[in-house]
């Protein structure tokens, strides 16, 4: 009885699926899905040889500092970093006095001790980077109705995030003539910017890094080309998203050595115990 009823259920589901398949295949052949501009022109991020790649990779502190400088002078005009505390900038090699100065230069929300009203005050190391806009409505109003996303986790919130950020920053270009010829409707709209690394190819953000030397790097640092600045700020944002990466990798190495040793011992114990037993 179980087998009979089960067989009926199986025939029903398998039959419905095969009918759906035939139906789908017929319409797929008779009316194949049209190609889209996104499918043909979207590009995967450029692969950069980051210092933090691989199991032994570490952050390059000088690069993180340059990236922080790019973030502060360019990105922070619109993008917040609200999961990151000033004190954690010690990871970049800044000392206590420098961190205090960085925090102090930024206004964070506070309460006026005399009136109790909401106000702002210079930041302290324990504070987080302040929001740029008080709310999404204000962010939209100031940015042609697009919200500049918070960047704290951007490097983990996109596939291949570190490479993605770099590619977006260097990827702005004119729309290819071929695209316009094939997909006349896909013309980049007013207030948007063509970028093949962006999922739908058209990005509200104007190219933020447009000229060499837009940020002045300290003596002895590489030349601030657009590509260099883009790499530096991507490295900085990777740190911002994954500040514990170096601890994680070095802990992992220790754990692996321990486990390898333990597993070899366990294997030897296993062989020893079973040595007299055929199995």
């Amino acid at each position: 009885m179980v087998r009979f009823l089960g067989g009926l259920v199986g025939l029903f589901f398998a039959g419905m699926l095969l009918l759906s398949f035939i139906w789908g295949a017929v319409s797929y052949v008779s009316d194949p899905p049209a190609a889209t501009a996104e499918q043909e022109f979207h590009k995967h991020p450029i692969q950069v040889a980051w210092s933090f790649n691989g199991p032994f990779g570490k952050y390059d502190k000088a690069q993180l500092q340059r990236g922080f400088q790019v973030y502060s002078e360019v990105c922070s005009a619109c993008h917040s970093l609200h999961q990151v505390t000033f004190r954690s900038l010690a990871d970049l090699g800044y000392n206590e006095a420098e961190i205090k100065a960085i925090a102090k230069a930024r206004q964070v929300p506070a309460i006026d001790p005399n009136t109790g009203e909401a106000t702002t005050a210079p930041g302290a190391p324990a504070d987080k980077f302040p929001l740029v806009y008080p709310n999404d409505v204000a962010a939209r109003a100031a940015n042609n109705s697009a919200i500049p996303p918070d960047l704290s986790l951007m490097a983990k919130a996109r596939h291949d995030g570190s490479n993605y950020i770099h590619s977006i920053l260097v990827g702005y270009q004119d729309q290819p003539a071929e695209l316009l010829r094939k997909f006349p409707d896909a013309k980049t709209g007013e207030g948007l910017h063509y970028n093949p690394y962006f999922a739908n190819l058209n990005l509200a953000m104007a190219p933020p890094l447009s000229a060499e030397g837009q940020v002045t790097y300290a003596e002895g640092q590489p030349k601030p080309t657009v590509d260099q600045m883009a790499q530096d700020v991507s490295a900085f944002l990777t740190w911002a998203a994954e500040p514990k990466m170096e601890t994680r990798k070095s802990t992992g190495l220790g754990v692996l050595i321990f486990l390898l040793f333990g597993t070899v011992l366990a294997y030897m114990a296993y062989q020893n115990i079973w040595s007299t037993k055929e199995h």
């Binding site: 699926l17 009918l19 999961q83 754990v255 486990l259 199995h279």
Partner: protein, 442 residues
């Protein structure tokens, strides 16, 4: 617990004797996982995964309880509290990555455990109850994993909760009220998050309870083995301790090494980047996908694209969405009936030539379903998953009973010991022949 064929426990240590007379806990341990539990001597490495699943659950419990000390189940701050764990809690990143990847590894070992059972016929008499409880465990795991994935309150959390509770909305008439009741509102919100957290903390302990029943039920007939031939006497078994504790110790080492490789060097490889974006009810992700361990079932859900209608009238009997939901639940629930569907008297797939071929097909089929479930709902993935899902149902409900009645199994060994000795003389022959050939050449 009473194990009919366990060895009698005689405490050697006076303290143990004292305890055992008052509370027979030493006896229980001795009979359950000690020298008092005789186990077939021929178990292969596929028999390691039950113990590994237990270890995986323990990892989840320990890391989860610690995470709950720092996590805030409130829609306003849940996402930030997870980042607080990742950045500011001592070793919080380790606990959180271990918990997130631990869930994946729990499913990996449980899937291997289930497929072991499918191949070696562990669901057959007299172990039906072990199998049934196993399916209950699997369902509880899926529920717990889904609830847990909602807690970080990222985009996939939010939209996953919307989609999965939306499955119930496909039920005619009462569906939408049920979804509203499950969520505590018309969309996922604070009420949903709070109850999901509460249930996510509760269910693992229910799971632990059912696991105890699963092991208890296992100890009545005792473990199965790769030949599927029952134990005939003491020469067929070895005591669980030290033989299988040693073997499981080695298996555990391998498991932990692979777990550590992912946890420390690619901790986000099994997650979805969208869940690092805070939940936003106003913005739907381009592709809503569950975690990888749900992909085969998600593919079955989405494979139904045609309403069931009365031909030529256009009257819809069952909508495609409801069919998908029914099929998805059926794809797991049918496993409850497996012991009575596959009536072949031979347990082990090793001696079932026809079954073996279809088993390989099933494994490939489930992998294809998994791939399609993770892919966007576009062609050709929908068509592929339709064929793969059709095979899935046909395999369990149509092909297995047919194989059972037409197959001519290979001859079974007379006993476990016979199989073991035949194998070892066979390997000795193999080892000897090249040497003798070399000697002859000289």
């Amino acid at each position: 617990m009473s194990f009919p064929w366990a060895e009698h426990y005689t405490p050697k240590n006076p303290v143990m004797k004292w305890v055992d007379e008052r509370l027979p806990l030493p006896r229980l341990v001795y009979n359950a996982v000690g020298a008092g539990y005789p186990v077939p001597r021929n178990l292969n490495y596929f028999w390691n995964f039950g113990v590994l699943a237990g270890v995986a659950l323990t990892i989840q419990l320990v890391t989860g309880i610690i995470l709950a000390m720092h996590y805030a189940a409130n829609a306003g701050i849940a996402f930030d509290s997870v980042e607080h764990i990742m950045r500011d809690v001592n070793s919080g990143w380790l606990m959180r990555y271990a918990h997130a990847n631990g869930a994946s590894f729990f499913f990996i070992v449980v899937y291997l455990h289930i497929f072991r059972g499918l191949f070696y016929g562990s669901y057959k008499a007299p172990r039906e109850m072990v199998w049934l409880l196993g399916i209950v465990i699997f369902l509880l795991m899926m529920a717990t994993a889904f609830l847990g994935y909602v807690l970080p309150w990222g985009q996939m959390s939010f939209w996953g909760a919307q989609v999965i509770t939306g499955l119930f909305a496909a039920i005619p008439v009462v569906g939408e009220p049920i979804q509203t009741w499950l969520l505590g509102g018309f969309a996922p919100g604070n009420a949903s998050l709070n109850r999901f957290f509460s249930l996510h903390y509760l269910l693992p302990f229910v799971l632990a309870g059912v696991i105890i029943l699963h092991i208890w039920a296992l100890h009545i007939p005792g473990s199965s083995n790769p030949t599927g031939v029952e134990v005939k006497g003491p020469q067929d078994t070895v005591p669980f301790h030290p033989y299988y504790t040693a073997k499981d110790g080695f298996g555990l080492g391998i498991f932990l090494i692979i777990f550590a490789l992912v946890l420390f060097f690619a901790p986000n490889s099994m997650g979805h980047p969208d869940n690092y974006i805070a939940a936003n009810p106003m913005s739907t992700p381009a592709h809503i996908v569950p975690e990888w361990y749900f992909w085969p079932f998600y593919a079955i859900l989405r494979a139904f694209t045609m309403d069931l209608t009365i031909p030529f009238t256009g009257i819809v009997i069952i909508e495609a969405k409801l069919l998908g939901v029914m099929a998805m639940f059926a794809s797991i629930l049918l496993l409850f009936f497996l012991s009575w569907i596959d009536t072949s008297p031979v347990r082990s797939g090793k001696y079932r030539p026809l079954f073996k071929k279809f088993f390989v097909l099933l494994v490939i089929d489930v992998l294809i379903l998994g791939y399609c479930g993770g892919a966007p709902a576009e062609e050709p993935f929908v068509m592929i998953s339709q064929l793969a899902a059709a095979y899935y149902f046909a395999h369990f409900l149509i092909i297995l009973p047919i194989i059972a009645s037409i197959e001519r199994p290979d001859p079974l060994p007379g006993s476990i010991t016979e199989a073991v000795l035949a194998k070892s003389t066979h390997t000795h022959d193999d080892a000897a022949s090249p040497a003798s050939a070399a000697a002859a050449a000289e």
